[in-house]
Symmetry: C2
Subunit: 416 residues, 2 copies
């Protein structure tokens, strides 16, 4: 068997039939199913039958990101949008052109996957990773930031990042802190694969390209705004959260309306709040990230031994209750962590509203122990920000209390 | 100085002036401030000046819960509501009658604190704890469940539990699993103390009493439904979440509308969904709880060493991404935990929507490793339920996948 063959793969009680694709992972068979959805199957224990040879042309040419051999002509009237793939459900609609990890794809591949993108931009593409987003890790955020930086440096008028939805909010936050950008960087994904009638991948991709052509030079997340196929919401990357496991409109901006939206039919991009305009900032990259940061959600009955996990760590995000509390018994141990050099930052599991540790005794004791308040920063975003701040900020405490990329909103505690 | 004296307490840079109350903790001074809000101050390092003696009568009589010496007459036309205090902002409006931990209060104390409660019910009261709710622990849930059981056994037509808002949702879940009840058990609290014009304590207390008189024999949470003083929402205890750090309408039912509401002005209690009716179930108590359960929220870049904390534990709740995922590298370690006897249950940090680990490889591998799916159970509720199931259920796995007290809603994954 070889890439391009039609195969049937049996493993355990499951059977997949489709075209074998090149795989960068020797232990995995990648099969393109009817309807365009790719599935990865462990090679171990899998039985493969070749049903037909060479049913699909797999192009081994490593077409470059900057134009290359594409048959689609460059249109000087149109902006150039870079599509960067990291994997996930949405990326599985684009065929691989090579089996290498640094695989790239070109306009032709893009338009074969999503014909509706034709005529909207000149496209170039590259693959930074091909993973399920639960396997996303800080080093891949760094690769992604460097790739986006390179694309913008090479003249992209906007960037679309295709990403699995599970951890999209963390990756979008990471890029928002690592990059200052003069053009839009738009994450999009898909909650339902292309082989399902309810798939959201085409509309999300089209709207993301429109957003990437817009005036908003921020890191955005573009996903369905409702259960209808009419409008995509544009969320600020540092304030967005996947709030539903399966709905197409799972993504929400925490504590505010989305920054803007894209009307699918009229192709109109609108912004409803203040944002960073195109070309107002120079491109810059600060890609240092400390991997030595943990996040701990406090719940009643929790064993204080959990805190030992953070001993010697550079940073710890606490997801406390209410205004930013944990059981009083945790406070002496937190003080020891701070004295040992760990930066401890408080966020709230309420998700909405601001930390305020000056109201109750527990909070005041936490502040005295050296805990830093993250305002209304969403806990996951606070973790990513602390990873970044530990490597890039002069004062980590001051940085955590200052909005760098919209992660802190207006003060929302009414007595301030 | 003695309880009943007007005092000024100076400690660090803070000054409190008010009436000294009896304290069950020798290390704490408890001062009732102007406006009725109680504050606890560490005795160490505090300077106390007596401004006037005996300005307030502190009754040392241990008035019993079943009527006792109250001057308020029992009205046979009215139902009897038990008010149980655990502490928190709302409880600080009720005066202590004794300094003992088992302190009780009677109808007179209740009506002095919230005169608007007059004429609605016969009241009796008891104090189970006097703590900030971040310090709530499973043994106090058990004390509380036993106290509620006793009150209902002794003829209460409904129970109101006054509780700090930080961990109210966990305590309400605990009671929902430990008790089968023929009458309403209504938690209420206060997001703003009584000395502030925006205090919500009177309306929440009044609406909670009305709900406790209603037909709904479930554990409910009664808090402001909006920022106005018009309606309180009645949330099912196992589905509610504090979603804002400071707003009065911080509490929301996850993934559904609230079960009902109470109109403050018209005193009307309405239910909008199916519920358990009064007197349909016999009273019963199953108060066993395993304290050996942890909750772990997965975030990208997380150190797998966190999982070691759960080694040898009876149970572990994972708060995964999306449909119920963690980094693939965690799976072998999770399998070891399961083989070591730890019950591992998957929930989602999305909060809304159902776990479904049969869609992607990561999920299927987790199921093969022995992970149990908690459906759309809110993660904190799943932790409390697992604590209960480990001590009371014949099959823990089956129990976690079955709705006992409304914690599991309709299947919400559309492809099922």
């Amino acid at each position: 068997m070889k890439p391009g063959d039609r195969v049937r793969v049996d493993r355990d009680d499951r059977t997949f039939e489709g075209v074998l694709l090149p795989s960068s992972d020797d232990d995995q068979l990648v099969v393109k199913l009817e309807g365009g959805y790719n599935v990865g199957v462990d090679r171990g224990g899998a039985e493969v039958a070749v049903l037909a040879e060479d049913v699909y042309e797999i192009d081994g040419t490593d077409s470059t990101g900057d134009g290359g051999e594409s048959e689609i002509e460059f249109d000087e009237e149109l902006p150039t949008i870079s599509l960067i793939s990291t994997g996930g459900t949405i990326a599985s609609t684009v065929d691989y052109r090579t089996g290498a990890v640094t695989a790239q794809f070109d306009a032709e591949d893009v338009l074969r996957a999503v014909p509706d993108l034709a005529g909207r931009a000149n496209y170039r593409g590259r693959v930074v990773a091909n993973i399920l987003s639960e396997n996303m890790e800080p080093p891949i955020w760094q690769d992604l930031a460097r790739a986006v930086h390179e694309e913008i440096e090479n003249g992209a008028d906007g960037v679309v990042v295709m990403h699995g939805t599970d951890t999209m909010q963390y990756s979008a936050s990471a890029l928002a802190f690592m990059l200052e950008t003069p053009v839009p960087i738009v994450f999009t994904g898909s909650q339902r694969s292309a082989d399902r009638p309810s798939s959201d991948n085409v509309m999300n991709a089209v709207c993301a390209v429109e957003a990437a052509k817009s005036d908003c030079a921020e890191v955005l997340v573009c996903m369905h705004a409702s259960e209808s196929d009419d409008v995509c919401a544009l969320h600020r990357g540092t304030r967005v959260r996947k709030n539903h496991t399966s709905r197409r409109d799972a993504f929400e901006t925490v504590g505010a309306e989305p920054l803007g939206d894209v009307d699918y039919e009229s192709e109109t991009v609108q912004f409803h709040r203040k944002y960073q305009h195109r070309d107002e900032r120079d491109l810059s990259l600060a890609d240092g990230l400390s991997e030595d940061v943990e996040l701990l959600k406090f719940t009643p009955g929790m064993d204080p031994a959990f805190l030992d996990v953070a001993e010697g760590s550079a940073g710890l995000i606490l997801e406390g209750t209410g205004l930013g509390h944990v059981h009083t018994d945790f406070i002496p141990r937190i003080e020891e962590l701070v004295e040992g050099g760990t930066t401890v930052v408080m966020t709230s599991q309420c998700l909405e509203g601001r930390i305020c540790d000056r109201v109750y005794d527990t909070g005041r004791d936490l502040l005295e122990a050296g805990v830093i308040e993250a305002g209304d920063t969403v806990p996951g975003t606070a973790k990513v920000k602390l990873m970044w701040a530990l490597e890039n900020a002069e004062s980590v405490a001051e940085t955590m209390e200052t909005s760098l990329a919209g992660e802190l909103q207006e003060r929302s505690v009414p007595w301030e």
